[in-house]
Amino acid sequence: MDLPVINSSSEGAAGGGCDSHSCGSTDDQLNHLPEHIRAKVHNHPCYSEQAHHYFARMHVAVAPACNIQCHYCNRKYDCSNESRPGVVSEVLTPEQAVKKVMAVAANIPQMTVLGIAGPGDPLANPERTFATFRELSEKAPDIKLCVSTNGLALPESVEELSKHNIDHVTITINCVDPDVGAQIYPWIFWNNKRIMGREGAAILIEQQQKGLEMLTARGILVKVNSVMIPGVNDKHLAEVSKVVKSKGAFLHNVMPLIAEPEHGTFYGLMGQSSPTAEELQELQDACSGDMNMMRHCRQCRADAVGLLGEDRGLEFTMDKIEDMEIDYPAAMVKRAEVHAQIAKELEVKEQDRLFQAQAKAALIALRGEADAPPTRPVLMAVSTKGGGVINEHFGHAHEFLVYEASPAGVRFIGHRKTTPYCEGGSSCGDGESALDETLRVLKGCEVVLSAKIGFEPWAPLEAAGIQPNGEHAMEPIEEAIAAVYEELRAAGKLDEAPVQQQKVA
């Protein structure tokens, strides 16, 4: 039995059945988009699950001011060790930002996208934001520009946005009901006044929806971000998903709330809980019947640099950039070559996959589905440094990507962050507690695939019901998972219920 790779499939679950739960959700989030939109997003790491293995992005922190307060944000925050939205190390002037973008684009040729995402709201800093866009569209025309906003100042900015050839906008929409909004937004600044509570939330919601409609009417792609806040908007987000889809948003990204007391946010200090990986997945699956869902978001900093999941920002601080000699025309040629090479690789992969899917369909046509009895889905985790292959050691992984294998194929579920079990030997004294954390975040997974897995974590992994597997090093992720699933099936392990996973503290 050969499994099609659903996430990168352009035809959905080949030959598989289609129940109301999986239909649509098992497709890649980009599959049923019109061709012209797919052409726009195929190399955007934040919009295409496949692209995020190959292409890099960066944010420049030119927009410190904000026009609203969210209960998950602390405006005092600035820490180089924290990785989450709204956090930056240095605010840049537009001139510095342009310089930084050119330096990064010259040094990381995989970079395709420049976003402005804060640390405040980009559209509450229109002069700084648009000065950056204006200069970049002249000096670095091969870089895609995008912007992320809370939406309050969006309607008045749409005209200017469309001038700068920005074809991607992200709006954070956590609710479409002011009563829900009143529990998320304590105030907004509107028409020269601070407006508190429900009244402010109602204006914000109206502006967000108006902005969304104006953007899609102009053919500008809109992704909607929502923060899942258990007990506040978790039940409400399926409704949000429906509404924004009906208004033309092309992708919905439901992210888990980040709230720790030491972050100093209202939610953090209130002890507001964050959703578990399972709760998040359940909501994403529930929304996916109505909407293309994004599942690979890493909730990066407003000054992040590199592939999603990595941050090379420290290589490009302003003092380091000052000393760099940048020959942008030469860099642009190199970038074009690198991008063409990646595109070629992806095309070969796609051909390969199509061939395998066809072969499978032919086999089913020949033998009928009957001799392939339905087997249960299995969650598997992999560690990767990018490139779509299993190339990260278990002990070095800062995060694991979780996939679900089933008779319908392999689909990407999400990522789970952890502390590396072994940071190259220097901090192995912490190994035990870090391993406990990894065991906890891998809960629900039955297999973990890494480039290499050391002797020490092997037994604890097995004891936790997670089979370590180092046999697929350097292999493409989906193919390796399909192969392991097939091994499990052949060994009869999919007929039984999963091994009872022991509780991990």
Binding site: A65, H71, K76, D78, N192, R194, E262, F266
Partner: protein
């Protein structure tokens, strides 16, 4: 009469473009208000603009040193919650310190 920005300012720039008198300017370590230019927005707006957008409670004070945004009024974070925050930050710091030395 003039308002004043004090050291809890986080340099977010939000107030600077709103001032009808261009009294606010960037300075180190934080933004400042030129007392000769500040009118507290009288005649221009119902509310002082800087303190209406400022996200930091207590960062803008009047001539008597009284905060225009009182603790808890913007974030909903009470004094008890703030104490909890300081304890959490302290604990994180201590843990990091121990991890380094231990």
């Amino acid at each position: 009469m003039a308002l004043e920005i004090i050291e809890s300012c986080v340099n977010c720039y939000a107030c600077e473009p709103l001032c009808p008198n261009e009294a606010i300017y960037q300075a180190s370590p934080h933004f400042l208000i030129d007392p000769d230019k500040c009118t507290e927005c009288l005649g221009d707006y119902d509310d002082a603009q800087c303190s209406s957008i400022c996200p930091i409670e207590g960062a803008i004070v009047d001539e008597l040193g009284v905060a225009l945004n009182l603790p808890g009024s913007l974030t909903g974070i009470s004094a008890e919650m703030l104490a909890k925050y300081q304890a959490a930050v302290e604990a994180t710091y201590q843990a990091a310190l121990e991890a380094k030395t231990g």
